[in-house]
Symmetry: C2
Subunit: 338 residues, 2 copies
């Protein structure tokens, strides 16, 4: 254990977020929900969308780029499909509402699909997959974003990093994949740039068109690598097209014209209720079989056993609950001064 | 144009496939559908799942590993969600039926989701996305397969190549992404191995654990690269879990125990009907805007403009219709002898 790690207990972090949100005018209900989600994101190890993102969230709320009192509104529906307008309310509130609706529809009809436009940044994409899984549903969600990835064959960004989430409920804790479609996020590039360390794999091109693991070179070229090269470029494009077709909202091109990054994104939430097809515990057992086969693969490094998606998060959550959440002291002190 | 390319007109190829399927006992309706899909797969440039795959399909049918007379059967349903058993009927017939059902449900209820177990190989995944798009629906489908990809952190295959398709209807031709989750398919590795040419990008590891674009080295190590490294490994896993949870069918572990590759796979078909949210032509226009922004990115190579997913297929189809379908002469001659 690194002794220099600055740790904050979950409850303290939650209470501090709550205090600040109440002070800047959030209703008590919304403040509690947003404070909990920000603290849980850090608890699960997604620091970039927990503590580290709290100050920008407060700033956007103060500048009214996030409308802390706005109510998301259902604007159209057809069968199990609904279209909502987020009206720039806090992205966490809107996205939780949308996944809640998708789950409620799925509980009645097997599948629910809710698309929303004009939402603020939802912070951690995985939050909404977990929401579905906690309710016993398979959850799938994705968002468009402003462009950071060049289409395959170009050096000019036109594609969002477009996070996508798949979550499946399980009694031992949800199976959760929460990925963005660049090999490394901007946050990760900045981290390695500041630390002067190489990325753990090639993450883009240098200005001469050579693959590199040097974050500074990638920032210079702006040629971030999509996962799977042309495949991730295509995948990011499809998620954008589907998000816009279902939400009627802003495209990546529209977002690129805004002065605030990701101002009014388009998102899709899908919940599927599989329990009608399984007896008690049968699905849990089947998932355990699948996980067991996956982790039975011999590790390349004996100290690093193979993990299925979500397994690492569970360990991080347990450790951070026990020891406190590793935190950036500077961010924390700034929050305390608010 | 390479003068040595052996080309067969679409109609001739279709008629030849039809003749063979009728001869081995297919009903006239099924023979016509399967012959058309095999010929269309080659027409669209997906030769690996067109002409090149026809002989193994005939062989599996003759061996009764594909039951050419079996009928897919709905075994359970809940709202817009249905579970089917393919009963090892021809994969093309079953998968078309499932996407048809998903589309029919979506036309009534906004979204339809059909999962099938015990299906035979569906050949080209994109076929079923195109089917949804032709009906005006967004189509999403995926399948599990026997393992060829090691989980991230291991060298032992435990994951299927798990193709996934996203299709969106458009008046200029569908937007279509049809990808498997290994950077390169086994077919592509074999092609480069036979030709002695390097892959266009790193496609796996050599036996010393170094990334390589040498297909022979990758075949030796069996360490095929998933798209996006740990991200594609996770994505392949999630598609497997979801396909099994919804179909109640075989896992990749089950498939690995079979003596016939991909004997009885688990698949999911989702159709979404977006037209309720758009006026006439409005969605087409919006998609054109998105495509225009994407292809406006300056190409790195002036001779290689940026293409959106599906754009290349349309050109290939038009060219192959005009000039004939580039074909493997040996495969063609063997088919003619049947």
């Amino acid at each position: 254990m690194n002794e220099s790690v600055f740790r904050i207990p979950f409850d303290i972090m939650y209470q501090e977020f709550l205090r600040v949100l109440l002070k800047i005018g959030f209703s008590s209900g919304r403040a509690a929900v947003c404070a909990r989600i920000f603290a849980e994101n850090s608890l699960d190890g997604v620091y970039s969308h927990g503590l580290n993102r709290f100050l920008p969230f407060v700033k956007l709320s103060a500048e009214k780029r996030i409308d802390i009192h706005a109510e998301p509104e259902k604007v159209a529906s057809f069968g199990v499909l609904e279209q909502w307008d987020g009206h720039y309310a806090p992205g966490i509130i809107v996205a939780l509402k949308c996944m809640d609706r998708a789950v409620a529809i799925a509980k009645e009809q097997g599948v629910g699909c809710v698309a929303v436009r004009n939402n603020s940044h939802w912070m951690r994409a995985g939050t909404y997959g977990l929401k579905a899984a906690d309710a016993g549903c398979i959850g799938i969600c994705f968002t468009n974003t402003g462009s950071i990835i060049p289409p395959w064959g170009s050096g000019e960004p036109r594609l969002g990093n477009n996070p996508v989430v798949f979550a499946v409920p399980h009694k031992n804790g949800p199976i959760l994949l929460d990925i963005a479609l660049a090999q490394f996020s901007n946050g990760k590039l900045q981290l390695h740039s500041r630390a002067g360390t190489p990325l753990p794999a090639d993450g883009g091109y240098d200005t001469k068109g050579r693959l590199t693991n040097n974050a500074d070179e990638i920032k210079k070229s702006k040629r971030v690598l999509p996962i799977g090269l042309w495949k991730g470029s295509g995948l990011a494009f499809m998620l954008e097209v589907i998000a816009v077709c279902l939400s009627g909202g802003k495209t990546t091109a529209d977002l690129d014209k805004e002065t605030t990054y990701d101002y009014g994104v388009s998102q899709v939430f899908i919940a599927i209720e599989p329990s009608a097809f399984w007896g008690a515990d049968e699905m849990d057992q089947k998932i355990e079989e699948i996980c067991a086969y996956y982790v039975s693969a011999a590790p390349l490094d004996a100290g690093e056993p193979v993990h299925y998606p979500g397994q690492g998060m569970k360990k991080t959550r347990e450790q951070n609950l026990r020891l406190g959440i590793p935190s950036d002291r500077q961010f924390w002190e700034k929050i305390q001064q608010l």
